[in-house]
């Protein structure tokens, strides 16, 4: 009996120590091969081969590949990577394995289109991806909306964007704003106004928290870009008239009869530099702004807000 108790005690101790050690070593192994899961190589790149290898469980395989795509994009985006070589092939595999996985088209296009470091800067492949999605899901109006979005935002092709929104508006149960967007595109409405309509539509038509936060950040950035553009124009006019720069934004507002001194979406006033530049107070709080940042500014990883 004593011997059995002794064995139990020793074996129990061994079990606990081995468990702790194996976890600690595994963490070290993960550090040695940090990119083991998503290496910069796709050993099987053919969607057809993978489809056959999945033995008919295409749906599950597509889910796994979609998750890997998200991980891959997330990791590279976080590191502000300049290349996203596997993104397009991973999306191709995912959508081939499950052509009805709508989220892969919707998110995938928004992953592919933006320029580095936000994405690989492949709007053409984003268009191809969504067209493949439309081919397989012709009654999904959101895909037409995504297509128009890429044409407008990334390719600045108003005619194609209008056509995409118009095609989408003909789909049964399509959201009414597609007709409005098609009309705005056709009229070449103001850039900020149209962009705002698109992002508000994105915010209102999704329940996904990530997409909503992304839309909020873009709306905040649009407000900053619009304010800075307006202030810069006022500065130019002031300079042309007086031959000097205003000493402050208050002087500028008074001289140019602006409706008050604009503040950024966080309520902070803009800064006027001695070189006549209008800058935002905390550029890191607006990851998608294209104006109001100091020269040579490198954006930090985005911090997302939930309210505009």
């Amino acid at each position: 009996m004593k011997s059995r108790r002794q064995t139990t005690f020793i074996a129990g101790g061994c079990l606990v120590i081995s468990l702790i050690m194996s976890i600690l070593i595994l963490r070290r192994v993960d550090q040695i091969r940090p990119q083991a899961t998503l290496d910069e190589v796709l050993y099987i790149s053919s969607p057809k081969v993978l489809e056959r290898a999945s033995l008919g469980y295409n749906g599950l395989m597509a889910d796994i590949y979609w998750t890997r795509t998200v991980q891959y994009f997330g990791q590279r985006h976080y590191r502000s990577a300049q290349s996203y070589n596997l993104l397009a092939p991973l999306l191709e595999i995912t959508t081939h394995l499950d052509p009805h996985l709508l989220v892969a088209y919707q998110f995938g296009a928004s992953f592919l289109a933006p320029k580095p470091p936000s994405g690989p800067g492949q709007p053409d492949r984003a268009v191809q991806l969504i067209e493949y999605g439309i081919q397989n899901n012709p009654n999904e109006w959101r895909l037409y909306y995504n297509l128009g979005f890429v044409y407008y935002m990334e390719l600045n092709d108003y005619a194609k964007a209008a056509e995409a929104f118009e095609r989408g508006s003909r789909v049964p149960n399509a959201h009414p704003f597609l007709k409005l967007l098609a009309a705005q595109m056709a009229q070449h409405a103001g850039e900020y106004e149209t962009a705002r309509t698109l992002w508000i539509a994105t915010y209102q038509t999704t329940r996904d928290g990530h997409i909503r936060s992304n839309a909020v950040e873009h709306l905040r950035a649009l407000k900053v870009d619009e304010d800075v553009t307006r202030l810069q124009s006022a500065l130019t006019r002031f300079g042309e008239r007086t031959g000097r720069l205003p000493s402050s934004l208050s002087e500028l507002a008074l001289a140019e009869r602006l409706q008050g001194i604009p503040v950024d979406p966080d309520g902070n006033p803009y800064k006027l530099t001695s070189e006549g530049r209008v800058l935002v107070e905390h550029p890191d709080d607006f990851p998608f702004i294209s104006k109001g940042v100091p020269p040579g500014y490198k954006p930090a990883p985005p911090k997302f807000h939930t309210q505009p």
């Binding site: 059995r4 129990g12 081995s18 595994l26 993960d30 040695i32 083991a36 998750t67 890997r68 991980q71």
Partner: protein
């Protein structure tokens, strides 16, 4: 190591040989030589890749199947045949029986792998006509495969110590499959939030991590393996096998064998 453990281990090895386990070597030799000849005729410039990929994959899969199907019967078969009572009526402790069985099965697999490795190198020589420096990397892959076998043997024994052979096979094979995707599992756990993250991470760290042992594809592409990885994989395999064996000893020690 006590003489009793050595005795049980050598008996386990002899029994496996008597069960014609090593006959799998014939199938392996046929597969490899057939592939080496066939691929040379129907493909371009991937003969070496195919021999390494196919050869090492076959070594791994054959070994895993042997480890599972022999491992699951090591305890239950002895109980079924009532030979266990004869063994335990002698001055042999239960833990010595488990450890002896483990070493016997591991030894069988090492011998089996040794002969298969000769086959892989013979096929490599056939397709390349001479050995090159990167071919030595195949030894690292073989070493990792053996480490993998140690874990599977220990797991098969653990399941065999409390379950029926059929269920033990299902458990062991499922763990092998899950363990092969362990890194993805940890990746998914990392994406979860709150208590789900903790639970998923705990599960991901508890299942064996076989993906770190699989360097076959990178070795086929002549990519070197870090010395640190060899060291840590060795330690990981030893500790994980020790953990599973401790569990097997604990269960078997308290099992009512009447």
């Amino acid at each position: 190591m006590s003489a009793r453990i050595v005795h049980i281990a050598s008996n386990t090895f002899r029994e496996a040989v008597r069960d014609r386990v090593l006959y799998n070597l014939i199938a392996f030799a046929l597969l490899l030589s057939g592939a080496a000849i066939l691929v040379g005729q129907i493909s371009i410039d991937i003969k070496r890749l195919v021999v390494i990929n196919l050869g090492l994959t076959a070594v791994s899969l054959f070994g895993v199947v042997i480890a599972i199907f022999i491992g699951i019967g090591l305890v239950s078969k002895e109980i079924e045949k009532r030979t266990l009572y004869t063994v335990l009526s002698r001055p042999v402790r239960r833990w010595e029986f488990i450890i002896g069985k483990f070493f016997g099965l591991a030894g069988t697999l090492v011998v089996n792998t040794f002969f298969m490795a000769i086959g892989v190198f013979a096929a490599l020589l056939y397709v390349s006509h001479k050995f090159a420096r990167p071919d030595a990397l195949v030894l690292v892959a073989l070493y990792f495969i053996i480490l993998q076998f140690l874990i599977i043997c220990a797991l098969a024994l653990l399941f065999s110590s409390f379950s029926s052979p059929l269920l033990s096979a299902v458990f062991a094979f499922s763990l092998f499959v899950i363990g092969s995707f362990a890194e993805d599992l940890r990746g998914f756990a990392g994406m979860a939030r709150g208590p789900t993250r903790w639970l998923a991470s705990a599960a991901a760290y508890l299942v064996p991590n076989f993906s770190a042992f699989n360097v076959i594809t990178s070795i086929a592409h002549e990519q070197p393996v870090a010395g640190q990885l060899v060291l840590h994989n060795t330690l990981y395999a030893l500790f994980y096998a020790a953990m599973a064996l401790s569990g097997a000893v604990l269960i078997f020690e308290h099992r009512d064998l009447k």
